[in-house]
């Protein structure tokens, strides 16, 4: 082999630079799947924005409602659905009235699914009427209507005008819960769970005009965009991505254990954290190897 042949033959770094991306997909697939099959326990430590939202809901005046706006679509279900479930558990465990609406038409099924799951969990352990979680008394699912601007402004005047009938077709005004849930004045905090810029619209229309307190649960992609609103106090707290959901799940589990509701419920966000951690480690390794390869090949070329 001549020295020219050796120089022309690609070395390890050069070959890594040109690796077929499907190998990367395969590695990520394995790295995510193995911890799901053989999970290692991870207990996420709640961050400040998550703690703030939890404390706010936990300590808001009795009778004030938690309103959840389902502003996402099924494509981001993995990240955001655990937030809705955890928020509902928190509200029902502390006896808060709950209102749920959807700003995205595709969010209707997701809201209904979360409500069915959590009400079934609570009603399975209920022994009296007071322990039960009942539609129209303890919660209301208003459903969806459009356009968002009209909904956000209209709810400040009278919620029953915006949603004359609920998701199940009942006259909203006839529901007992609506006697004390007339407009934003009766809302302790409205949490928008979104995969879009909808939380910003809630600030602009709901908060600026009517002063409603807002929290948000958002996809990790948009987390960096919403931190300024947490810093300014426009959001009382924020759940960012699946990790934010897992952190909230931990706080809710602790609260439910304190209330003697230790029912061994599943927490989808927390269950995913071992896969998330190993995938992050793999991607960090890819980034480091990629950069070393880039600089090594650049030096070789020069």
């Amino acid at each position: 082999m001549t020295p020219q042949d050796s120089a022309a033959r690609p070395n390890l770094w050069t070959r890594l630079q040109a690796i077929d991306r499907r190998w990367i997909y395969l590695v990520i697939w394995i790295v995510v799947m193995v911890p799901l099959l053989f999970p290692f326990p991870i207990k996420p430590k709640p961050t400040t924005p998550v703690e703030k939202l939890f404390s706010y809901i936990d300590t808001m005046p009795a009778g004030k409602a938690l309103v959840i706006s389902v502003d996402f679509t099924p494509d981001t279900r993995a990240e955001l659905q655990p937030m809705i479930v955890a928020l509902l558990r928190h509200a029902f465990a502390t006896g808060r009235p709950v209102g749920v609406l959807a700003m995205a038409v595709y969010g209707l099924g997701l809201g209904e699914e979360a409500l069915s799951q959590v009400t079934a969990e609570f009603n399975a352990h209920a022994t009296t009427h007071e322990d039960s979680v009942i539609n129209g008394e303890d919660y209301v699912f208003w459903g969806w209507t459009t356009p968002p601007l009209t909904v956000m402004l209209g709810m400040g005047e009278r919620i029953a005008n915006v949603f004359p009938v609920d998701y199940y077709g009942a006259r909203t005004e006839s529901l007992p819960i609506m006697r004390d849930l007339r407009n934003y004045d009766d809302v302790g905090v409205l949490v928008t769970v979104a995969a879009s810029a909808m939380p910003r619209s809630w600030i602009v229309y709901g908060q600026t005009q009517f002063g409603v307190h807002l929290g948000c649960g958002i996809t990790a992609v948009s987390a960096a965009d919403f931190y300024p609103y947490v810093n300014s106090g426009q959001f009382v707290g924020m759940l960012a991505g699946m990790k934010g959901a897992a952190e909230y799940e931990q706080l809710v589990m602790e609260r439910m254990a304190k209330n003697k509701m230790d029912w061994g419920l599943r927490n989808r966000g927390t269950e995913a954290m071992s896969s998330q951690t190993s995938a992050h480690l793999a991607i960090m390794a890819f980034i480091i190897i990629g950069n070393i390869g880039y600089f090594a090949t650049r030096r070789r070329k020069s």
């Binding site: 995510v32 459009t146 009938v165 910003r200 602009v204 990790a220 960096a224 810093n231 269950e271 896969s275």
Partner: protein
């Protein structure tokens, strides 16, 4: 192993695999699943718009309202809304400007004053360092970093003066803040995409194949 018997779970699993097959290469299964998704999403939305918006807010009141004026208003508004479809008829396509103009006027009027307050004034207030920030060393440190970050980043986007003298190093610091912001966004994006993949694997391994709990 406890494989699902629900046919809908099987359909969802097969469609998920069809979409994932794109990771290997473009193929007819992926394309079929993609087209199915778009079609179903549109059909779902149109159904809800019909039953939840058009029927209760337009057709029912027009048919049953005892007030003649209400009916006239609703029909007039419906006709203006229908002008959107005139864009398919070149001769009268200019009519589409009418509903667009109404929406723009309403949207701008409702948005601009509130957006200025929410997006500008409140954010500016949040950068002001107050005595309360110095109650704890960490809140003080973050308040100072945010203040410096805003000044430096805004100076980077200040194009009315040549970047020399004091503006040069300050705008350079602004670039560092911007890069940190990009890094945070990228990190969060990775987390988001992995989360979605985990969600699908939880479904495939759990709900479908019953391998995991």
């Amino acid at each position: 192993m406890n494989i699902a018997t629900d046919p809908w779970v099987w359909i969802a699993a097969i469609l998920t695999i069809a979409i994932f097959s794109f990771l290997y290469r473009e193929n007819p299964f992926y394309r079929a699943a993609e087209h199915l998704y778009v079609g179903i999403a549109n059909g779902y939305a149109i159904t809800f718009y019909w039953h939840r918006i058009l029927v209760p807010s337009l057709f029912d009141p027009v048919a049953h309202s005892p007030h003649f004026i209400t009916k006239v208003w609703l029909i007039a508004i419906a006709i203006i809304g229908a002008f959107y479809f005139t864009r398919f008829i070149p001769k009268i396509s200019w009519l589409v400007r009418i509903p667009i103009a109404i929406l723009l006027g309403y949207g701008c009027g409702a948005s601009i004053p509130r957006a200025v307050d929410a997006e500008l004034i409140k954010q500016l207030q949040a950068t002001i360092i107050t005595r309360a920030h110095f109650a704890h060393w960490d809140t003080a440190a973050w308040a100072i970093i945010i203040f410096l970050g805003v000044i430096a980043t805004v100076s980077y986007f200040f194009f009315s003066a040549e970047r020399k003298g004091v503006i040069k190093p300050v705008s350079y610091i602004g670039v560092i803040f911007i890069m940190v912001g990009f890094g945070a966004s990228f990190g969060y994006t990775v987390m988001a995409r992995i989360s979605l993949f985990i969600g699908r694997l939880q479904f495939l391994l759990g709900d479908w194949l019953g391998i995991i709990k």
